[in-house]
C-alpha cells in the first residue's frame, strides 16, 4: 500500500492540515510504511465479530436537565485569539 502525493494532499485537505512539500514527501513514505504494517490485520477472521466502540457496557447515559452555574462570558473568551463585542471573531465565511 503506497500512498501517492495526491492521496497525502487529499487526506491533509480532509483534516484541514497545511503541509509543506517536504512534509508531503515524508508522510507519503512514512504512512505507507505504517499502513504496510497494518496489513497483518487481514489475517484475522472477524466474521460475525461485532465491532467494539467501548470496553465498558454503557449506553445512553442520561442526566437530569437542570439549571446550574456556568462559566462567565469573560472566562470563556479569556483564551480567544480574536474577539469583538464579547464574541469570538472569525473571518468572513461568505465573500
Amino acid at each position: 500500500m503506497k500512498l501517492s502525493y495526491e492521496q497525502v494532499r487529499h487526506i491533509a485537505w480532509l483534516a484541514r492540515l497545511g503541509l509543506s512539500e517536504e512534509e508531503v514527501e515524508k508522510f507519503s513514505l512514512q504512512l505507507s510504511n505504517i499502513l504496510e504494517n497494518f496489513e497483518i490485520l487481514k489475517e484475522v477472521d472477524t466474521t460475525n465479530v461485532p465491532p467494539a466502540t467501548h470496553t465498558i457496557p454503557l449506553k445512553n447515559v442520561f442526566r437530569k436537565d437542570k439549571v446550574a452555574e456556568s462559566y462567565s462570558q469573560t472566562e470563556i473568551l479569556s483564551n480567544a485569539p480574536r474577539q469583538a463585542e464579547k464574541c469570538f471573531k472569525v473571518q468572513a465565511i461568505l465573500e
Binding site: 497525502v8 483534516a15 484541514r16 492540515l17 490485520l41 461485532p50 442526566r63
Partner: protein, 490 residues
C-alpha cells in the same frame, strides 16, 4: 528520619511527619523546590513551575493543620501534574505550540479532588505533544532526560512526570495513559505507575487524545503511595459520561505481603521477538520471586491475538485523535495564524504551525483510516479485532487472578535513536497497549536493572481488580529493594 532530605520522602512517610507536626507543608514544599532548582537543568521534567502558588498553598495548609484539623494522606504534599490535565489559572500546554498560552478557566475533576484534600500543586510536567509518543522527545519545547542516564529517554508520553518522581522533584505525580503512557515511563524511570480500569478515574478536564482509551493514573515512589493517590482520584463523575459508577474501596486495605494461592498467568506472546534478553531474564527472576511468595504460576498461557494489538491500536487511537483534535481551529483558544486570507487558510496554517510532526502524522493516519473507502477496511476491522482481544483477556481472567509481563520490551534508549522511525517508536508500547484496548487495569513496578538501567514488571487484571494488582505489587516490593534505589543525576 526515613530520609536525609525531605524531598526524598514518599507520600506515606511525609504524611506521618506532617501528622505528628514534625515537619510543615511549607518546609516540604521548599525542599522539593530546592531539589527542582538543583536537578531540573539536567532532567528538564517540567514545563511550568508555580513556586509562588505552591508556597502560598503550603502556608494555608500549615495554618489549617495548626488549627488542629484532621489531615488526609495527600494533605500538604507537593505534586506535579502532567501538562495534559487542566489546572484553573495555570497554563496547560499539552507540550504543544498550539496550546502554549492556554490557561484553562476550570480544573479537571482529578485536580478538584486533589484540592479538596489540600494537595500542593507545584507545577506541570513535560510530555510528548498531546500524549502522542513513547520518549517525551515529541514535546514541542524540549526533551526530558532519564535521571538514570541523561543521554537516554525517560519514556513517554508521561516522561516528565516519571522522571520528576525518579529524580525526587515531586513526592508523586499524575500522568495519563492511552497506550502505556503512565506505565512505560514508570518502567524506564524505575517508579510505580498505574493505568486504572477505563472509567474508574474521571476524564473531565483531561485534554482528549483517544477518548475510548485515555485514563489518568498516578506515578509514585512506591506501591503504598499509588494506593493512597488512587483513593483520592478514583470515583464516578457525572461530568464524564464514560465514568463508571463503581464502588471505590480503600485501596490500602489490600496492601498485605501475602499472595499465597493467587493464580498468575504468564502470556508467552509478551516474551517473544523484540524483547531484550536482559528484560526477559529480569522478568524470569521477578516471576520466580512471586512464586516463592506463594503465587501459583502458569508459564503456559497464550493470548494469540496479542500480535494484532499494535496494528489495531495505531488505527483506533489516531482515528479518535483526528476527530478530537479537529477542535484546534484557531478560533476559540490556542495559537492562531494571522497571515491568512480566509477561514480555511487560517485553519490550515494554524494547524500546520501549531502541531508537531508526530501529531500531524497521527491526524493523517486517523483521517485516512476514517475516510470514505477505507473506513471498513481499517477502522471497523480494528474495532472487531478489539472485540477479539477483549474476549481473550476475559477468558484468561476466568482462570487467573492476574497476568504478568514486561512493561517495556527494552531498557531506556538513547535520545534520537527512534525519532526518525515512527514504527520503531510505536513498538515501545507493544506490551502496554493491549491493556488500553481491553480497558483493563495494569500496574508497572520496578523489577530490576541492567547496567544501571531500569526494568519494569507489568501486572494486569480484570476490570476493577486494582486491589489485587496492588496486593501483588506490594508483596513483590516488600520482598525486593529495587524501589529504594535512587539515580545519581550527572
Amino acid at each position: 528520619m526515613p530520609a536525609n532530605e525531605l524531598y526524598q520522602l514518599t507520600v506515606h512517610e511525609a504524611h506521618e511527619l506532617l501528622k505528628q507536626r514534625k515537619i510543615s507543608s511549607a518546609e516540604l514544599t521548599k525542599s522539593v523546590l530546592k531539589r527542582i532548582a538543583e536537578v531540573e537543568g539536567k532532567v528538564r521534567a517540567c514545563v511550568t513551575i508555580v513556586e509562588d502558588i505552591a508556597l502560598k498553598e503550603a502556608e494555608k495548609v500549615d495554618n489549617y493543620i495548626k488549627a488542629a484539623h484532621e489531615i488526609t494522606p495527600l494533605t500538604g504534599i507537593p505534586t506535579l501534574i502532567k501538562d495534559v490535565i487542566c489546572t484553573k489559572g495555570i497554563r496547560t500546554t499539552c507540550s504543544s505550540r498550539i496550546l502554549e498560552n492556554f490557561v484553562p478557566p476550570y480544573d479537571a475533576t482529578v485536580i478538584e479532588k486533589l484540592k479538596t484534600h489540600r494537595a500542593v500543586v507545584v507545577g506541570k510536567t513535560n510530555m510528548d505533544e498531546f500524549a502522542m509518543g513513547s520518549s517525551t522527545e515529541h514535546s514541542a519545547f524540549f526533551p526530558t532526560r532519564n535521571p538514570w542516564d541523561l543521554s537516554r529517554v525517560p519514556g513517554g508520553s508521561s516522561g516528565g512526570s516519571a522522571a520528576a518522581v525518579a529524580a525526587d522533584e515531586a513526592i508523586y505525580a499524575l500522568g495519563s495513559d492511552t497506550g502505556g503512557s503512565v506505565r512505560q515511563p514508570a518502567a524506564l524511570c524505575s517508579v510505580v505507575g498505574l493505568k486504572p480500569t477505563y472509567g474508574l478515574v474521571s476524564r473531565f478536564g483531561l485534554i482528549a487524545f483517544a477518548s475510548s482509551l485515555d485514563q489518568i493514573g498516578p506515578l509514585t515512589k512506591d506501591v503504598t503511595d499509588c494506593a493512597l493517590v488512587m483513593n483520592v482520584i478514583a470515583g464516578y463523575d457525572p461530568r464524564d459520561s464514560t465514568s463508571v459508577s463503581h464502588p471505590v474501596p480503600d485501596y490500602t486495605q489490600q496492601l498485605i505481603p501475602d499472595i499465597k494461592g493467587l493464580k498468575i498467568g504468564i502470556p508467552r506472546e509478551y516474551f517473544g521477538e523484540g524483547v531484550q534478553n536482559e528484560v526477559r531474564a529480569a522478568l524470569q527472576a521477578a516471576i520466580n520471586k512471586l512464586q516463592e511468595l506463594g503465587a501459583e504460576i502458569d508459564w503456559e498461557v497464550s493470548l494469540p491475538h496479542t500480535k494484532y494489538a499494535l496494528a489495531a491500536y495505531y488505527i483506533l487511537a489516531p482515528s479518535e485523535a483526528s476527530a478530537n483534535l479537529a477542535r484546534y481551529d484557531g478560533v476559540k483558544y490556542g495559537f492562531s495564524e494571522r497571515d491568512a486570507s480566509n477561514v480555511i487558510e487560517t485553519t490550515e496554517k494554524t494547524r500546520q504551525f501549531g502541531f508537531g510532526p508526530e501529531v500531524k502524522r497521527r491526524i493523517m493516519l486517523g483521517t485516512y483510516a476514517l475516510s470514505a473507502g477505507y473506513y471498513d477496511a481499517y477502522y471497523v476491522k480494528a474495532q472487531k479485532v478489539r472485540t477479539l482481544i477483549k474476549r481473550e483477556f476475559d477468558q484468561a481472567f476466568e482462570k487467573y487472578d492476574a497476568l504478568v509481563t514486561p512493561t517495556s520490551p527494552i531498557v531506556p534508549f538513547k535520545l534520537g535513536e527512534k525519532l526518525e522511525d515512527p514504527m520503531q517508536m510505536y513498538l515501545s508500547d507493544v506490551c502496554t497497549l493491549p491493556i488500553n484496548i481491553a480497558g483493563i487495569p495494569a500496574i508497572s513496578i520496578p523489577a530490576g536493572f541492567t547496567d544501571n538501567l531500569p526494568i519494569g514488571m507489568q501486572i494486569m487484571g480484570k476490570p476493577f481488580s486494582e486491589e489485587i494488582l496492588l496486593r501483588i505489587a506490594f508483596a513483590y516490593e516488600q520482598a525486593t529493594a529495587w524501589h529504594k534505589r535512587k539515580p545519581k543525576i550527572r
